[in-house]
């Protein structure tokens, strides 16, 4: 599958270097005073004595990309952001690895912080993504969001 415009999905975990690169890139934007970043990481949750070793993310890609375009537009309309970056993993992500990355930048901190939080909540609630928690014995259960 080709990288489409506005595709937020990365195969497997999101590398920490990606985050450093995003930050370094914005050093050239002199109107930015604040960045807010959220990272989701796979937890080794215990369920009935079994331990999660990975989450396998699947996506309704077409629906997801149009929903993301809608969320992106709504957040840009609401907040005077200089930048917005969103990545979400697709496929297998091991415990301790990053599966979700939201990055907002603005002149002042309030805007970046609020927009970042709103993106995190909306993406978790509205994006057609499903996490399959894989236990150490290779059985699974489907993640549910609170």
């Amino acid at each position: 599958m080709n990288k489409e415009k506005n595709d937020i999905f990365m195969q497997g975990p999101i590398p920490p270097e990606r985050i450093a690169t995003s930050i370094a890139t914005h050093g050239r934007k002199y109107d930015i005073g604040a960045h807010s970043i959220f990272l989701g990481q796979i937890r080794a949750d215990q369920v009935d004595g079994k331990t999660v070793r990975a989450i396998d993310y699947s996506v309704n890609r077409e629906l997801a990309l149009s929903k993301m375009a809608e969320i992106r537009q709504a957040v840009f309309d609401k907040y005077p952001l200089a930048c917005m970056h969103v990545y979400h993993s697709e496929g297998l992500v091991q415990v301790g690895e990053i599966c979700f990355f939201v990055f907002t930048s603005s002149a002042h901190r309030r805007v970046a912080i609020d927009a970042c939080e709103e993106l995190v909540e909306r993406i978790k609630k509205e994006m057609p993504i499903w996490g399959k928690e894989i236990f150490e014995d290779d059985t699974h259960q489907w993640k549910t969001n609170r």
């Binding site: 989701g40 993310y57 699947s58 996506v59 309704n60 077409e62 629906l63 149009s66 979400h88 599966c99 979700f100 995190v120 993406i123 978790k124 609630k125 509205e126 994006m127 057609p128 993504i129 499903w130 996490g131 399959k132 489907w142 993640k143 549910t144 969001n145």
Partner: protein, 75 residues
């Protein structure tokens, strides 16, 4: 009408990921599938027809794509 059905998330433990079936509307489609797969009955589902979420049953056209989706759990 013959439509393509795509199953997502936990539904892929019950249904094939992609298959074809015949139904007049989304209500009939769900009724038929629930009879074939008991695990499907009373499940909370989101339904999209041709990548548009529907809240009420809609009549299906030939070659429509019907996505059956459990509650989202990304992030």
């Amino acid at each position: 009408m013959r439509v393509q059905v795509k199953a997502f998330g936990a539904l892929t433990d019950i249904l094939e990921k992609e298959f074809y079936m015949t139904a007049v509307d989304t209500e009939e489609l769900l009724t038929v599938l629930s009879h074939q797969h008991v695990a499907l009955a009373h499940r909370k589902l989101l339904i999209a027809v041709n990548n548009r979420i529907i809240n009420d049953p809609v009549v299906l056209q030939e070659n429509d794509i019907v996505a059956l989706m459990p509650p989202y759990s990304g992030g």
